[in-house]
Amino acid sequence: MTRYNRRTLLKAGAAFAGASAIGFPAISYGQAEKIKIGHLTPLTGFLGALGTYATLGMKLAVEEINQGGGVMGRQLDVMSEDSVNPATAATKAQRMFEQDGATVLIGEINSAAALTIMQVAARNKRLFLQTGARSDALRGKNCNKFTFHMDIPNTVMVNTVGKALVRDNMVKDKKFFTLTADYIFGHDLLAAAKRFFGANQGNLIGDELIATDVTDFSPYLLKIRQAKPDVVCSNLAGNQVTTLIKQYAEFGLPYPIVGFNLNTADAWAAGDGNLSGTWPTVWYHTLEVPASRSFVANFTKKNGKPPENHAWIEYISFKMMAQAMNETKSTDTDKLIAYFEKETEFDILKARKAHFRAWDHQLMQEAYPFTVRPKGHAKDQWDFIALGTALPAAGEPLESLAPTREQNPCTL
């Protein structure tokens, strides 16, 4: 306990010094101790490939921040670990706050693990910048004051792909068959999909809940064939998406396939010529934005491969947190929350700047529907996605794809 008290004292001191020293060069705090940040993300299991990219993105951001003089003149010291599963994630989060002196936590992809970390953050009254989990419930009925959400939520993914489908006459009076990941994320995505089908006269004729460790989809594919849908729709996650894409191509079913969730690493793993249909993404490395191009170049130079969306989101999350600490000259939880809640605009390497919506702590940003390039049109093995126009369209408010106040039961 003495360690905790010393740290509290130091933080209070730093905050006081920061507040009273506006205008002084940051270098004057060069002697101060490092700012500790906890980073949790799945490195094993069905989301492990995505978490590995997230870790690479985090490393690049921290390297750049520290080389540029750190935050308020202090270097960042990131403890990065495999979150493993929801229970382990909560244990590690608690340890990082309580014993390791983490000022904030950043990370996660698994919605179930993110939920347990959110509870730990609330109990410890510290900030959790939740980067990659997409379940609506996290920023809906389970939202809390200490958590901010970076990635696009399920409703936004459904609306992004949905707009493209409505445009292509693929919803009204069409029969849909969905395959859904059997955990909080999938259930939540299915609910958003049902809302969308209901609002646009699509008929959901069948759904299969699929456990996250299933490696053979053939019995489900036969059920799809029996149901004879007009469109097959994936609400799956991580490795499941890759397996589905491969086996769907293997069986060569004639129904078009679309999906409401995909991370580009899952698509890359599916192999050439297997992916088809319309899917959503939050960011892609071919985006024609100068800041994005320079991030892609730096990342590729360092890692020998382009970043995927979880590398990008971890990168901008650490940059945003550094910006917030620098601007508020503090690592104090309340000050950081206030900074994010005043809807400060952040450059997130996209055409439009992003901000957190104050009442549900969700980052408002552009999303993109994409289709797959015809065979032979990709520049390299990473380039088989043809990005659609960013949504919401240039004139529309960023909020227009997100759940509305009526749809979202969040009260902070």
Binding site: L43, T44, G45, G48, A49, G51, T52, Y53, D182, E208, L209, A211, D213, V214, T215, D216, S218, P219, Y220, L222, K223, R225, Q226, N239, T242, T243, K246, Q247, A249, E250, F251, G252, L253, A265, W268, A269, A270, G271, D272, G273, N274, Q381
Partner: protein
């Protein structure tokens, strides 16, 4: 029509069972002859998949599915000679621990060499799509896979039942002491059995790489099912393993047809029921050293 759908799931389950068989048969052989539960068996399956993806890049799919199992079988020699051999007569817990540790080391080694992101692998164009026979739809690739499994199965059966090699191995399962008394050293046979077993696992990996996900933990995913098959089939029985593998595939398919949520649990329920009625498995023989 409902019956037709069900039959389609049964046939599909048989195909899937054939693939489980490639992994389970080797596991059963190593267990039966050496008395070692090889928890590292899944690692050889994963290595087979990774090696075939690498070889495919240079030589194409055909050579990859032949060379990858051979390469892994060679690795099997080292595995048997330097590790497994020390544990045939030791407390079984030791071999469990060592092979479990090896499985973890192998998974981490794959992660270090190839990275955590899955490798991409595709079905060669000539095997893409499906064939429709009457009302049934088959993946063309899986039909080819089934043919390969059938050939391997016949080959292994002939090897075990029609050659002097097979006679010694089968005798070694039942009465290793008698085999020794007749002046035959079992060790070289054991090396061959391990080569054969891990080679088949690698072949399963190589053939399944284009339709499943090639990632470091893929060995873990298959080892549990393979064990269930071995336990249901019973030790020492070639046909027990064959029947169990097909049964597991079919039961899973039928369960997913009727009660999708119970699909993955169904094979464990099957194992539970089989063991209640036949504690040695379906066709398990009475093996003195395990009684």
């Amino acid at each position: 029509m409902q019956f037709g759908f069900l039959l389609e799931q049964v046939v599909n389950g048989l195909v899937l069972g054939g693939y489980y068989l490639l992994i389970a048969l080797g596991l059963s052989l190593i267990f039966s002859v050496g008395g070692v539960v090889n928890l590292a068996h899944g690692a050889f399956y994963a290595l087979g998949a990774y090696a075939s993806v690498e070889i495919t890049k240079y030589l194409g799919f055909g050579p990859a599915v032949v060379l990858s199992p051979i390469a892994v079988a060679m690795l099997g020699i080292l595995f048997e000679r330097y590790i497994l051999r020390r544990f045939y007569t030791a407390d079984p817990i030791l071999s469990l621990l060592i092979t479990f540790g090896l499985a973890m080391i192998a998974e981490q080694a794959i992660r270090i060499v190839w990275g955590a992101a899955p490798l991409s692998a595709s079905i060669p164009p000539e095997f893409r799509g499906s064939v429709i026979v009457g009302d049934f739809l088959f993946s063309r690739y899986r039909v080819m896979l089934l043919a390969v499994v059938a050939v391997v199965l016949i080959g292994v059966w002939l090897l075990l039942h029609k050659t002097s090699f097979g006679r010694v191995v089968r005798a070694g399962i039942q009465r290793p002491d008698m085999v020794a008394a007749l002046g035959i050293r079992l060790q070289p046979y054991m090396t061959a059995v391990v080569m054969l077993g891990v080679g088949m696992a690698a072949m399963g990996g190589a053939f399944f790489a284009p339709i499943t996900i090639v990632h470091p933990a893929m060995g873990n995913e298959i080892i549990t099912v393979a064990f269930v098959v071995v336990v249901i089939g019973g030790l020492g029985s070639f046909w027990g393993v064959v029947i169990a593998a097909l049964l597991v595939g079919v039961v899973r398919g039928i369960t997913i047809h009727f009660v999708p949520a119970a699909g993955e649990a169904s094979i464990y329920v099957l194992m539970f029921l089989v063991l209640l009625v036949r504690p040695r498995g379906l066709l398990g023989e009475r093996i003195e050293k395990f009684e």
